[in-house]
């Protein structure tokens, strides 16, 4: 099976389970936290994949990291999910699954995430305008992430799911440049 299919299957199942328990929001949050923590500590993934660490040790390990003091209700579903992934040897796909779950939650809420990259920080009014325009285009609620990248020079580049709306000055100049160099021949 292709990795994407695997990721989707696991993510869908666990999401449905969380929904049945009415905990999809909390669960998505927990997953988010964990995947961020794991990204900061890449050795942890090695540890979970290491065949020299026994099954029992891994189970204990997962329990330990999830029962931190401040939590009143231990994240049982997350613990089981993680254990399952480790035992099925799919833990390497964890971060992809976390991303997929995040998307699933957005879908459920009717939210679409978009990233707008601009050369300078945008004026709040303009951001609002942009958001309105995108909402009209997609007929979904838009959560806009703003990023600044001076190399764009001007204009805006918007990532909308798998689509790229590129209105940046940089790209226009680049294409002009390649047209001019082609014309020389």
């Amino acid at each position: 099976m292709k990795p994407y299919q695997i990721v989707d299957r696991y993510a869908r199942s666990v999401f449905e389970l969380a929904e049945e328990q009415g905990k999809s929001e909390t669960f998505a949050h927990e997953i988010d936290v964990l995947s961020r923590a794991m990204r900061n500590q890449p050795k942890f993934l090695d540890l979970l994949e290491n065949p020299l660490v026994t099954r029992e040790e891994k189970r204990a390990l997962i329990k330990n990291i999830l029962t931190v003091e401040a939590v009143h209700e231990p994240p049982l579903l997350l613990e089981r999910f993680l254990t399952l992934l480790v035992e099925k040897g799919r833990i390497d796909l964890f971060s992809a699954m976390a991303r997929q779950l995040h998307n699933k939650l957005n879908e459920k809420r009717g939210v679409q995430e978009a990233t707008a990259v601009t050369a300078r920080r945008l004026d709040p009014n303009v951001v609002e305008l942009l958001k309105k325009a995108l909402e009209k285009m997609t007929a979904k609620k838009i959560v806009l992430n703003l990023q600044a990248d001076p190399s764009l020079l001007g204009g805006v580049r918007i990532c909308l799911g798998n689509r790229l709306l590129d209105g940046s000055l940089r790209t226009k100049l680049d294409s002009l440049d390649s047209q001019l160099t082609m014309a020389k021949v």
Partner: protein, 505 residues
């Protein structure tokens, strides 16, 4: 609610507990082993095709680098390798000893001696895999590499730095051609390396004995991975032999490497790939089987004079099944090489040996790799012989032929006869020129077919005793000047008259 900082610190403390077991930079643990393959956990940062040490005397090559394990092929016996055994990195690519210490030796693909002459005292080593010289460093093939076989030197000339494939069914004389070529390199300053892949040990022993008897072992190395050696060693053998040849190539000397044979090499690689679960393609060979041979044969080269002018000639051998040169591996290798010598079982059994099918054999760099005199004498030979074969096949069907056709057939038959040659009967250039000149000019046409071989033998003797000046000039000038040709004709006429009176015809 779960808080990021807390989770992170919990993770940190867990990692610390296991710190010891996470330090796996240069060792790995065997997860699973069998069929000469091991899957190993750990070995962080191992390089592709790096040598790893499995136990005291067993080594392996890191073949598959996967996300969470390394696929290793074991060079040797995997008997003492168990689940949980330790595997160490060596931080170097597989190397073989090179240089003159290897002359006269029989070694395995790792350069370890297989003969009884003690250790190999090599001073230099080379990695078995090596990037071939680029276009700028090469020059066109121009010096001939004489095989001593009339049919080849005259019609399918091989040059130093060329890659010429020898292809044919089993038992059609493929190895014999290679052996004759080695024997003929005596005193030519060409170092020979014979790589035996997947052959019976008995035939390897016979070849070694033969080379010894011919005093050809002095400048020859044999690299042997026989049929009972594990597939990884068979896979490695051609690259090891090539590396030994490269030592000469890059030092301005000349080397000849024979790969006998690459079909078995491809099979060994197929076995490895399937065991490593790489996806099979056509005939179950993996997708990169073309690259397997192209990267090997690209290493044959003729370097520019500024680079020392060294050369590495490759004579790969391919065994076909029932003459099928259109199957996967043969077509691949044909397209890589600079020509092929196609041996046919029918011809072999008909007594035409070497059993070269002239029509299907070519040398794509030929012209420049041939001495001038041979080019002058044998220029049209290949074409006319190919035509003769067709004509002969056609003539079998029709009863009455006109006189011109009959004459053409007699002439062709004599040419075929004179190109026949036994094994280990190398013919030097001047004799080849004389014989082919005589045949071409029709001196044999009225000799009985069964006397042609006697004619040839006596002609050589006659020329060398009575007309040694002409022979000498041929050797020295290597051009068929008018004066040489005139004296050659004179000698041939004189000899023929004498021959006819003696044998009465």
């Amino acid at each position: 609610m779960l808080k990021p900082e807390e989770v992170t610190s919990a993770i940190k403390s867990e990692i610390q507990k296991f710190e010891k077991r996470l330090q796996m930079e240069s060792v790995g643990y065997v997860l699973q082993t069998g069929d000469g393959i091991a899957r190993v956990y750990g070995l962080d940062d191992v390089m592709a095709s790096e040598l790893v040490q499995c136990s005291d005397h067993t080594y392996g090559i890191a073949f598959n680098l996967e996300a969470n394990n390394v696929g290793i092929v074991i060079l040797g016996s995997d008997a003492d390798l168990k689940e949980g055994s330790l595997v160490r990195r060596t931080k170097r690519i597989v190397q073989v000893p090179t240089g003159n210490a290897l002359l006269g030796r029989i070694v395995n693909p790792l350069g370890e001696p297989l003969d009884s002459k003690g250790p190999v005292p090599a001073k230099t080593f080379r990695p078995v895999e090596c990037v071939p010289p680029n276009v700028v460093r090469r020059q066109p093939v121009k010096e001939p590499l004489q095989t001593g076989i009339k049919a080849i030197d005259s019609m399918i000339p091989i040059g130093r730095g060329q890659r010429e494939l020898i292809i044919g069914d089993r038992q059609t004389g493929k190895t014999s051609i290679a052996m004759d070529t080695i024997v003929n390199q005596k005193g030519q300053g060409v170092h020979c390396i014979y790589v035996a892949v997947g052959q019976k040990l008995s035939s390897v022993v016979a070849l070694a004995k033969m080379l010894e008897e011919q005093e050809a072992m002095e400048y020859t190395t044999m690299v042997v991975a026989s049929s009972e050696d594990p597939a990884p060693l068979q896979y490695l053998a051609p690259y090891a032999g090539c590396a030994m040849g490269e030592e000469y190539l890059y030092n301005g000397k000349h080397a000849l490497v024979i790969y006998d044979d690459l079909s078995k090499h491809a099979q060994a690689y197929r076995q490895l790939s399937l065991l490593l679960q790489r996806p099979p393609g056509r005939e179950a060979y993996p997708g990169d089987v073309f690259y397997l041979h192209s990267r090997l044969l690209e290493r044959a080269a003729k370097l520019r004079d500024e680079e020392g002018g060294g050369s590495l000639t490759a004579l790969p051998i391919i065994e076909t099944q029932a003459g099928d040169i259109a199957s996967y591996i043969p077509t691949n290798v044909i397209s890589i090489t600079d020509g092929q010598i196609y041996l046919e079982a029918d011809l072999f059994y008909a007594g035409i040996r070497p059993a070269i099918n002239v029509g299907l054999s070519v040398s794509r760099v030929g012209g420049n790799a041939q001495t001038k005199i041979m080019k002058q004498v044998a220029g049209m030979l290949r074409l006319s012989l190919a035509q003769h074969r067709e004509l002969a096949a056609f003539a079998q069907l029709s009863a009455d032929l006109d006189q011109a056709t009959k004459n053409q057939l007699t002439h062709g038959d004599r040419m075929v006869e004179i190109l026949k040659q036994d094994t280990l009967a190398c013919v030097p250039l001047e004799r080849q020129v004389i014989a082919i000149y005589a045949g071409n000019k029709g001196y044999l046409d009225d000799i009985r077919l069964d006397l042609v071989k006697t004619f040839e033998a006596e002609l050589y003797k006659f020329m060398e005793t009575k007309y040694s000046a002409v022979v000498h000039d041929i050797v020295k000038e290597k051009v068929l000047s008018e004066t040489i040709e005139k004296r050659l004709i004179e000698a041939l006429s004189a000899f023929k008259k004498e021959f006819l009176t003696r044998h009465g015809n």
